[in-house]
Assembly symmetry: C2
Homo-oligomer: 358 residues x 2
DNA sequence: CGTCGTCGTAAAATCGATTTCAATGGAAGT
DNA sequence: ACTTCCATTGAAATCGATTTTACGACGACG
């Protein structure tokens, strides 16, 4: 029943240990360790000899032993909904870049927008030795917060900014950002507005954006009925279908669509064009995220720019600061900007403003 | 000079160790370990007691200790050029998904298309305890191969398929795939074809694709001059600019453009449209990768579908097999498909076929 | 000239879970 | 009734680098 006959990295008899290096360099293991970790504490000649020995043997430190003894894993965990969405991937990329510079490796985990899965993955990450965690959003299972508190693991919620929160945040005010988009349309004169939102279940970002839109419209005396909101997973096709649905539902037909992100917005753009509608003449469309192609769509998309890299880098900066025991700001605000392009304009028929009785 | 006063995860006096659980459950640490790792070897009643104790104390295993003693880190490294490109991100996502199911965590590292950086990151990954590596492409520094050989670390090159290679591959034949696109255009009647390629330096995939195109054209008696090839980093703007350049350079003007990927192709599409050219009437454009928006561009883009998730999952499958000591196929071929859409058609003026003398 | 401090190094303790080995008790078989 | 075997558990050894403690040599200073 030969099962695991393969030689493993560490099983390998040729695996070089610190004692082997010590023997070759003619000194004690402790000295090797010092030479690596505190080079200035070892005399230059000896250091040179040690370096040669390490090179010659191809020594690779055993991380497990190091982590066990020093109680530092030099790894942090990044826990995101999915890697399939460009902004999350870029956030991870940026954070990883900063960590890498600091000699820290990135453990990644995804939970596909399922908060229970998030909790499980977080536990695993911690077990694996993650010294800190980067999370997305601020809605997590209470048990996750408990766990983090219990072990005093530094962590930061990204994609949100909430100075009032007891937990650190790096991001922006989703409600206000979405409100900005809504306000833009209202200022242009739109009254009949519909929304294609991302799925709001278990997702504080989409939830707040929708709330922000609703509140802003209400502030201008416009009510957003449930029937004028469609929640869809992010995809161009979903954007198209939702757009078609909302257009058919609206009476009179909406003059503007606010989309939860650019993917949905692109779908809406395509659907409207396919229906022979003019954008922005017949209908205005605004997106969210400012993905690369938003600038190149037809027409170019008015959208809210979300600096994902900046959030990733700032989040990493926060974590690094915490790990080094530095004072760091608990809440970091990144700037989101409404990018005005040609997919939004005043409604062509102001007559549409006066909606009958409904 | 208070420097590092913060309590760390493991420093925490409240940190629960296996002995604490053992005490509470009234048994030896060894039994706890068994209850976790070989539940069937512990009597049900005791197991229940132990589980309660663990829950009550909030026990989290110390991975470093476990890894040190068992010589298994339960982590694998994924080393990709960048997370900014959707296909790589999706590949990682898919691989991570499979690993996660198998109780394995994913360490991620990027090298931004710099092979020296790749070597360094690989070393780091190994040092951190990665039991195996997923790589992209088969062009790596010889030292990287040496390292992998020396320690017999399982690894797999993705995005390439080469049954003749001594090293495992999961992917497809880049040369043949790109040739397919070229052939498609030739069959449509195009003779005057130009190429917007990704950067080929240090990149076997782009290099082979370009070679494949060149060879295929030559096979049909068409030579591809250097001046009709532009190498650019992937971005829509670069696609636009390169397209403008090649169009101005070609004499007569090219009737088709092959792009290294869909991002460049989208740029080309936009540039051509901006110039008032009809697609595919005046010019055909084909892309590579089949990103989501390729199906929704105007016109929809003819492109080569690359199943990134499948490669990620297959690569993970290979690694898992290796780690478990199973027999696994050394080379896995994934299917790439030329997706015919509306950005390619026969050239409008067959007259353009006969090119003067040049 | 002796003592103290410093520097560089070595020896040994340590981190915490796993694994090996041994011991116990009870069931099954002779 | 006695041996054998199996299942369950505990005690102790172990993984390999880091960290603590100790020590010898050397220079400075009183």
């Amino acid at each position: 029943m030969a099962s695991d006959t393969r030689k493993r990295f560490q099983d390998d008899p040729s695996r070089v240990r610190i004692t082997d290096v010590a023997k070759l360099a003619g000194c004690a293991p402790a000295t090797i360790s010092r030479a690596i970790n505190y080079p200035e504490k070892v005399s230059p000649e000896r250091r040179a000899r040690i370096e040669n020995a390490m090179l010659e043997l191809g020594y690779v430190r055993n991380h497990a032993a190091r982590a066990l003894r020093s109680q530092r894993s030099h790894m942090v965990g990044v826990l995101i909904p999915t890697l399939d969405y460009a902004l999350y991937a870029r956030l991870v990329g940026a954070a990883n870049g900063k960590f890498s510079e600091a000699g820290i490796s990135t453990l990644i985990a995804t939970f596909d927008y399922d908060l229970d899965a998030e909790l499980k993955e977080a536990r695993l990450l911690l077990e694996r030795g993650a010294e800190a965690l980067i999370l997305v959003g601020d809605r997590h299972r209470p048990k996750l917060y408990d766990l983090l508190d219990q072990y005093e693991v530094p962590f930061v919620n990204t994609y949100v900014y909430n100075a009032a929160s007891a937990y650190p945040t790096v991001g922006f005010d989703n409600s206000a950002a979405a409100a900005k988009a809504a306000q833009h349309l209202v200022h242009l004169g739109h009254k009949n507005i519909c929304v294609i939102s991302g799925i709001t279940k278990d997702n504080d970002r989409t939830t707040r954006r929708l709330e922000g839109i609703r509140a802003e419209l209400l502030r201008h005396g416009i009510e957003l009925p449930e029937s004028m909101v469609a929640e869809r997973p992010y995809s161009i096709s979903n954007g198209r279908r939702a757009c078609a649905l909302l257009l058919s539902r609206g009476n009179p037909r909406p003059t503007a669509i606010i989309c939860g992100n650019d993917v949905l917005a692109l779908g809406a753009l395509i659907e409207c064009a396919a229906k022979g509608m003019e954008i922005p003449g017949d209908i205005s469309v605004v997106g969210f995220d400012n993905l690369e192609y938003a600038a190149h769509s037809n027409p170019p998309l008015t959208t809210v720019d979300v600096p994902a890299e900046e959030m990733g880098a700032d989040a990493a900066g926060y974590i690094l600061g915490k790990l080094n025991g530095n004072e760091v700001a608990t809440h970091v605000l990144v700037e989101v900007q409404l990018i005005l392009r040609n997919s939004s304009a005043p409604p062509k028929w102001p007559g549409a403003l006066a909606d009958p009785n409904r």
